[in-house]
């Protein structure tokens, strides 16, 4: 019996704000409301990384939140997919290059789907999640680690340079 077909019937979502302006978060919550109602696809906003399949990240990764992001990602059991929601999470957005921000989520954890927009629209998020489900179905239960864990540690006091730590990613799905 092929169990992986059932993955896309009950994707449980974990939503993490890595330091954004809260705009995309409100849009994500609007998806759960009566107008868009993503629960009809079986999605639940769990809030518990150990029981969720999809990590929705919003906002640029600040220096305070990067450890939490990697930690939360590590706690999710495979198969799992990551969606970077909004311009900030995808590239850093308007916060890119600021002293307190690191830029996009993909510098720390492998991202499967990028959803653009500032802020994103609910339809885009739903479309992104539906594309993520196709990726989720094809994934295996192999261990996936964060990008940062594969890299050498950054020395104390050094300014992070995006070009040096950016992840090698294959062509991402752009929406």
């Amino acid at each position: 019996m092929n169990l992986s077909a059932y993955r896309k019937k009950s994707p449980w979502i974990l939503h993490y704000n890595a330091g954004g302006c809260n705009g995309c978060d409100i849009v994500i919550l609007a998806c759960l409301g009566p107008k868009y109602d993503i629960e009809r696809f079986g999605m639940i906003n769990t809030g518990n990384p150990k029981q969720s399949d999809i990590l929705l990240v919003t906002g640029p990764v600040t220096k305070r939140s990067r450890e939490r992001l990697v930690e939360i990602y590590g706690q999710m059991p495979e198969p799992k997919v990551v969606i970077a929601c909004g311009a900030c999470a995808s590239t850093g957005g308007v916060f890119r290059g600021m002293y307190n921000c690191e830029g996009g989520v993909d510098q720390f954890i492998p991202v499967d789907v990028y959803v653009c927009g500032c802020g994103t629209r609910p339809e885009q998020i739903i479309d992104g999640v539906v594309q993520a489900l196709a990726i989720l179905e094809a994934k295996t239960k192999e261990m996936e680690t964060s990008v940062q864990l594969n890299k050498a540690a950054i020395p104390e006091g050094e300014q992070l340079n995006r070009r040096h730590i950016a992840a090698e990613i294959e062509m991402p799905v752009m929406i």
Binding site: R7, D37, E39, R40, N48, Q51, P79, M143
Partner: protein, 279 residues
């Protein structure tokens, strides 16, 4: 003999019935919020998906206690459906909750500990009421057996309406529904005691939740005696009442819950007991 066969059949299909009930409840809750809601078989899809996740265990005793929670709850339900001793049923249910509390305390997560604390407080809130109800049933039927209540000619509801109201007031605590869902509190402590379970081990807790639904609705059915139609009506009423309450109320804190439960629900059940024992 025939009723025993029906009881055994019910025990075997209890998780499926509970799953369907949970799926139906999610639809009803969604419709109350003007949403469409998930398909009816959604809990089973979740079940299959959870079995397919990579296994992550905090430590083996933690996972074992979670699975034992499921089996002890199933055993408690079996004793109740077979018409066993009500006090035994209540304490077996307590045992299953205690196993989950132990599991939650055995991890190092703060949320898990908080959930275990709150679960213990919830037990303190609903357990005395259930025991008083069991004693009332003993006074009316002359036996602690659930079988005596199931087979009584006159429905117990007519003799102990206050106890039924008390049961309705403690059921949200037991089933972890608003306003008394401090033990689970998804937005606050992200599930509490079930926090550290994942994948196939969370499945045990997820299924135990379905069994708990069947357990609670069987307790409601107890009040109808041998009148099956009245029993179904009572269960339907309780179902709608619980979901309406869950959708329309905000969470109270554990002190308010304890005060309300021991002040109002316990008093109602106790007054009912006094009336029953005096008349």
């Amino acid at each position: 003999m025939n009723s025993t066969l029906i009881a055994i059949l019910l025990i075997l299909v209890a998780p499926f019935v509970g799953g369907l009930l949970y799926g139906f409840e999610r639809i009803v809750k969604a419709r109350m919020q003007r949403r469409i809601g998930p398909p009816l078989l959604q809990p089973f899809y979740d079940f299959i998906k959870l079995a397919d996740k990579r296994k992550m265990v905090v430590h083996s005793a933690h996972a074992f206690l979670g699975i034992m929670h499921f089996f002890s709850l199933w055993f408690a339900l079996a004793v109740l459906l077979l018409g066993g001793d009500l006090i035994l049923v209540i304490f077996l249910h307590l045992l299953s909750s205690a196993l989950l509390i132990l599991a939650a305390y055995s991890t190092r997560s703060i949320f898990s500990h908080l959930g275990a604390n709150r679960m213990a407080i919830s037990i303190l809130a609903y357990e005395p009421v259930l025991i008083i109800i069991a004693v009332s049933i003993y006074i009316l039927t002359g036996s602690f057996d659930a079988g005596a209540a199931f087979s009584s000619e006159q429905p117990l509801l007519y003799k102990m309406p206050l106890a039924f109201i008390a049961l309705l007031l403690v059921l949200p605590i037991k089933m972890k529904k608003s306003p008394f869902d401090v033990a689970e509190a998804h937005q606050e402590i992200t599930g509490g005691a079930e926090l550290e379970f994942s994948g196939i081990f969370f499945e045990a807790l997820y299924t135990a939740k379905w069994l708990d639904y069947v357990f609670c609705y069987t307790l409601v059915f107890l009040f109808a005696g041998s009148n099956i139609l009245l029993g179904i009506a009572l269960m339907a009423f309780t179902f709608l009442y619980l979901n309406a309450l869950d959708n329309s109320s905000a969470r109270v804190n554990y002190k308010q819950m304890l005060r309300f439960s021991l002040g109002v629900s316990f008093s109602l059940a106790f007054i009912n007991l006094l009336i029953n024992s005096l008349s």
